[in-house]
């Protein structure tokens, strides 16, 4: 199996896209740490699903925006698995509002989780990977970080920030054989998009050339490729998984 003997940490893996990524990386043979911040039961279900198929996984609680909790999470992962080869920064939230109605706390919450969380986890992972002279960091951005979206200025700023951040550290870490790439999903069927009003969902659909929403597995397959040795010569890239929304 492609990821046999590798260990991976997937943030926000209790639900949605992160869940699909965690299960798929385990199918490819990796040992997986399933991070969550509040959905403990859901995280345990993901771990169980992996174990049922003969894989190895643990659930680790940490709010990615909190540096102390992130540090404790990495310690726990190292204690359990002894190493870390793959980090997938997937945890993310939305707090939508038009700019003139956007509260400071909505701005801060989204930037803290979606951008500072990526910094916290990447930093902790890089310290481990630099020593080992290899590693894969895969960050989940969004079509919104590339094209913008009315009502999501906080989310767009954070997701665009993830792209710039990833390109900067891709350059920093390239001499240590660490590849850093970004996956930018479009409209994927998860709790996050289920929360949108039907009118907006219909509007979105018109902008998707392939004429349908994406499935979490569509994202997971790309992450699996970027986590494997097949992508050793790819770094600093943004891969769009959006049914053709961005071309």
């Amino acid at each position: 199996m492609e990821l046999e003997g590798r260990t991976a940490l997937v943030t926000g893996a209790s639900r949605g896209i992160g869940r699909a990524i965690a299960i798929y990386l385990a199918e490819l043979g990796a040992q997986v740490a399933v991070n969550y911040s509040s959905s403990e039961q859901r995280a345990i279900e993901v771990v169980e699903a992996i174990k049922e198929k003969g894989g190895r996984a643990i659930a680790v609680k940490a709010d990615v925006s909190n540096p102390q909790e992130v540090e404790a999470m990495f310690e726990k992962v190292l204690n359990e698995f002894g190493d870390l080869h793959i980090l997938v920064n997937n945890a993310g939230i939305t707090r939508d509002a038009l700019l003139i109605r956007m509260k400071q706390e909505d701005w801060d919450a989204v930037l803290d989780t979606n951008l500072k969380g990526v910094y916290n986890c990447s930093k902790a992972a890089a310290k481990i990977m630099i020593k080992k002279r290899r590693g894969k960091i895969i960050n989940i951005s969004s079509v919104v970080g590339v094209a913008g979206n009315a009502g999501q200025s906080n989310y767009a700023a954070a997701k665009a920030g993830v792209i710039g951040f990833s390109k900067a550290i891709a350059r920093e870490l390239a001499p240590r054989n660490i590849q850093v790439n970004v996956v930018a999903p479009g409209f994927i069927k998860t709790d996050m998009t289920a929360a949108l009003p039907e009118s907006i969902r219909q509007e979105m659909l018109k902008q998707i050339p392939l004429g349908r929403y994406g499935d979490p597995m569509d994202v997971a397959y790309v992450v699996g490729f970027l986590a494997s040795d097949k992508s050793q010569y790819i770094t600093g890239q943004v891969i769009h998984v959006d049914g053709g929304m961005i071309m």
Binding site: I130, K131, E172, P175, R176
Partner: protein, 77 residues
């Protein structure tokens, strides 16, 4: 004593032979370190000698002798 400890850390971080490390060795020119190596080295030294080396001081360090002098002057031990 300090030199030996520093040498061990350099050998470990840079993967060079112990004989190559003298007080006169320059990290970049003689020991083949790059900027990330230097940062890692500084962090390892901070941990080993339980001290903080501010960036403006770290920038002035270019030889192994500089490191040994710096630690003699600033270490709590």
């Amino acid at each position: 004593m300090i030199f030996e400890k520093v040498r061990d850390i350099i050998v470990e971080q840079l993967g060079v032979d112990p004989e190559e490390v003298t007080l006169d060795s320059k990290f970049i020119d003689d020991l083949g370190a790059d900027s990330l190596d230097i940062v890692e080295l500084i962090m390892a030294l901070e941990e080993e000698f339980d001290m903080e080396i501010p960036d403006e001081d770290a920038e002035k360090i270019s030889t192994v002798g500089d490191v040994v002098e710096y630690i003699k002057a600033h270490s709590k031990e």
